[in-house]
C-alpha cells in the first residue's frame, strides 16, 4: 500500500458537475482529491481486505437474530422498546438489505482492524462506485497508468444487480433530507442504478412524506409501498411518524434490523462474541462506573456520524476531539489503533488514511479511502482514488 502523487485530470471539475457530483469541493476545501492515489497489491486486496470484509459481515449477520431476542442487548443499544417487535419481525421475515460499509484501519501489512460499521446510511457511494472508476479509466486512457492497473470496486455492478433481484414494490421511492446536496447526490446515484435495473424510481423529499391513516403517501397521496431512506433509523423512531412505521406496510431499505448494526454498541457486542478476533479491536460499553478515558482509547457515541463527538487519547497522552451534535445517547470505548500516516507532497503535510470497505448484499464490493490531517476522519475528510497494481 503506497501513496503516489499524480497530476490531476485537466477538466475533472467540469466533468464532475456535469454528472451531478456537486459536492466535489465543500466550503472551498477539496473533497474529491486526485492529487494522489493509493496503490495496493492484489494480494493485499484479496487477503487483507476482501476476505476479512466478508468474514466481518458474516460475523455481524450471525449476531442479528440473537440481538433481536435479547432484552439486555436491545437495552444496551438504546433501541426504543416500541420497536423491539418491529425489528424482530423485520429480521424474521427476512427483509432484504442493500448495502453497508465497514471503516477499517489498514497500512498494507497485518490484519485490517474494524473501526466501525456504517450499515444504515452509508454515503460516499457515488465517489466510490462511479467517480473513482471513471478516474482510473481516464488515467489509463491518458497513459498515466498502465493498462493492467485495476481497482477493487465492483460497487456499481453489484448494486445494479441487487436492484434487479430485490423484487421491490413498484413504484419504489427514494428519500433524503431536502436541502442536503451530498445526501441527494447519493440518492440520485442509487436511483440511477435502480432505474437501469428496471425499477420504477420516484424521489420524495423526506419532509414531504405524508401519512393518511396508517399509510405513508407521496405528494399525490398515493401509497408509498417501498422506500429507500437516507435518514438514520435512530432518528425516524423518535419522530412524529414513528408510530406509523410500525403500522404501515411500507418496505424499507435499509430494513429496520439494520438499526442494530449502525449503532456503535455493535462494536462491543462483536468483541464480546468474538474476543481477540484479528480484525476486531477491544471495545466496551461505557458505564457510570467506567474509569476516565485513558491513553490509547477512543470514546464514540452509540449514534454518531462522520466522526462527530469522537474523543481519543493517543498513546503519548495527547487528547483529540471532534465536536458534534450527538451528545444525547450512550458511548462505547474502543482501543485506539491509529490510522497510518502518509506524506502529502502536494500539500507538504502529513495525512492520515482510513479505508472504507463496501458490502452489497453479502459480498465485498470495493473500497474507498478518506484522508484527514487528524486521526479522526470526518465529513470534511478528502476522498482519494486507488488502484491495484503488482
Amino acid at each position: 500500500m503506497k501513496r503516489i502523487s499524480v497530476a490531476e485530470r485537466a477538466n475533472w471539475r467540469a466533468y464532475a458537475e456535469e454528472v451531478g457530483f456537486n459536492f466535489h469541493t465543500f466550503d472551498g476545501e477539496p473533497y474529491w482529491d486526485e492529487t494522489a492515489y493509493y496503490q495496493f497489491s492484489l494480494q493485499q486486496i484479496e487477503e487483507d481486505l476482501e476476505a476479512p470484509t466478508e468474514e466481518l459481515h458474516q460475523m455481524t449477520m450471525d449476531m442479528v437474530g440473537d440481538i433481536t431476542r435479547s432484552e439486555e442487548m436491545l437495552t444496551q443499544l438504546n433501541i426504543p422498546r416500541d420497536f423491539w417487535s418491529y425489528i424482530w419481525n423485520s429480521w424474521n421475515k427476512g427483509e432484504p438489505h442493500l448495502y453497508g460499509r465497514f471503516d477499517l484501519v489498514y497500512d498494507g501489512t497485518g490484519p485490517a482492524k474494524l473501526l466501525e460499521l456504517n450499515y444504515d446510511t452509508p454515503t460516499s457511494l457515488f465517489e466510490t462506485g462511479f467517480f473513482q472508476w471513471v478516474w482510473l479509466e481516464d488515467q489509463i486512457k491518458n497513459g498515466v497508468l498502465p493498462e493492467r492497473a485495476d481497482q477493487f470496486n465492483s460497487l456499481h455492478d453489484k448494486i445494479e444487480q441487487a436492484f434487479a433481484q430485490l423484487k421491490l414494490p413498484q413504484p419504489f421511492y427514494f428519500t433524503s433530507v431536502r436541502d442536503n446536496i451530498e445526501d441527494r447526490g447519493t440518492v440520485n446515484y442509487l436511483m440511477d442504478m435502480a432505474a437501469q435495473a428496471g425499477v420504477d424510481v420516484r424521489y420524495i423529499a423526506l419532509e414531504d412524506i405524508g401519512e393518511v391513516g396508517e399509510q405513508f403517501v407521496d405528494l399525490d397521496n398515493q401509497a408509498i409501498k417501498g422506500l429507500f431512506k437516507l435518514y438514520p433509523w435512530e432518528f425516524m423512531v423518535q419522530e412524529d411518524f414513528a408510530r406509523t412505521i410500525t403500522a404501515a406496510n411500507t418496505q424499507m431499505l435499509e430494513p429496520a434490523w439494520k438499526m442494530l448494526l449502525s449503532n456503535k454498541g455493535i462494536l462491543s457486542l462483536l468483541w464480546n462474541r468474538y474476543p481477540n478476533h484479528p480484525n476486531l479491536l477491544p471495545a466496551f460499553f461505557e458505564t457510570a462506573t467506567s474509569e476516565p478515558l485513558g491513553a490509547g482509547w477512543v470514546r464514540k457515541p452509540l449514534f454518531s456520524r462522520e466522526g462527530a463527538n469522537v474523543d481519543l487519547i493517543t498513546s503519548s497522552g495527547e487528547k483529540i476531539s471532534a465536536p458534534g451534535p450527538y451528545t444525547d445517547g450512550g458511548y462505547v470505548r474502543q482501543a485506539l489503533h491509529a490510522l497510518p500516516k502518509y506524506r502529502d507532497e502536494y500539500r507538504n503535510a502529513d495525512t492520515y488514511a482510513m479505508l472504507g470497505s463496501w458490502v452489497v448484499g453479502d459480498s465485498a464490493a470495493g473500497i474507498c479511502i478518506r484522508e484527514d490531517e487528524s486521526l479522526i476522519t470526518k465529513d470534511t475528510s478528502r476522498f482519494l482514488p486507488h488502484i491495484i497494481l503488482d
Partner: protein, 197 residues
C-alpha cells in the same frame, strides 16, 4: 478484474434528466360505461370484469365525490335530483351531499398492453383502481349544464360518451378526501446537518 464492467449513468446526466422531466407521460387506454350491463353488452370485457370494476368505482364514489353542505349547492352544479346524501357528516352532525355516480372508468392493465378491447384483470376490491393499471378505475359524474360529458370527481372531462378512450394517468388520479399529515420525518434535520456516514 476487481472492478465493475461498466459504470454508466442515465438519470444523473442533465440531458437525460431534462428528457425525463420534459418528455411528458404517454396516454393510456381506459373505458367508460354507465353501468355493468352496458359494459358487458359492449363485449370488450367479461361480465365479471365489468361488475368488479363497477363495484370498485362505487366503493370509491363516497370517498372521492365532491362534497356540499347543502343539497341546493350540489344541485346547482349537478342538476335537480342528481345529488344524494353522503355517508360523511359534519363535525356538528349535519348532513353532507354529493352528486350521484353517473358512470365509471375502467383502467386497462399494464401487463396486457395493446389496444383498447384487450382483456382486463380483476381490479383491487376497492380503492384507487386496479393494481398494475396506470388509469385508476373510478366513478364518473355529469355536470348540470353539460349532460353529455363524463367527468372525474375533480371535474376533469374524460369522455363524451361510452366506450374506449385514451388519456394521461396523472389527469385522473383520484384524490381521496382524507386528512394528510406531512412533516413527520426530518425534525432532527435542522439540528444535525449530515445524515449519511
Amino acid at each position: 478484474m476487481k472492478r465493475s464492467k461498466k459504470a454508466a449513468l442515465v438519470l444523473m446526466v442533465p440531458v437525460a434528466t431534462l428528457l425525463l422531466a420534459g418528455c411528458g407521460e404517454e396516454r393510456e387506454q381506459a373505458m367508460v360505461f354507465t353501468d355493468p350491463s352496458e359494459c358487458s353488452a359492449a363485449a370488450l370485457n367479461s361480465a365479471a370484469q365489468c361488475e368488479a370494476d363497477y363495484v370498485a368505482a362505487q366503493t370509491l364514489h363516497p370517498q372521492v365525490a365532491p362534497k356540499y353542505l347543502n343539497k341546493e349547492e350540489c344541485e346547482t352544479d349537478f342538476g335537480a335530483g342528481q345529488c344524494e346524501t353522503a355517508p360523511q357528516q359534519t363535525t356538528s352532525g349535519g348532513s353532507v351531499f354529493m352528486p350521484m355516480m353517473m358512470g365509471y372508468m375502467m383502467g386497462q392493465m399494464l401487463n396486457r398492453g395493446g389496444a383498447a378491447g384487450g382483456n382486463f384483470q380483476q381490479p383491487a376490491a376497492a380503492g384507487a383502481g386496479a393494481a398494475g393499471s396506470k388509469i385508476p378505475t373510478q366513478p364518473l359524474y355529469k355536470s348540470r349544464d353539460d349532460r353529455g360529458t363524463f367527468r372525474t370527481a375533480t371535474n376533469t372531462p374524460v369522455a363524451g360518451g361510452i366506450g374506449p378512450i385514451s388519456l394521461k394517468p396523472s389527469q385522473v388520479k383520484p384524490q381521496v378526501g382524507q386528512v394528510v399529515r406531512r412533516g413527520g420525518f426530518g425534525q432532527q434535520a435542522a439540528a444535525r446537518n449530515s445524515f449519511g456516514g
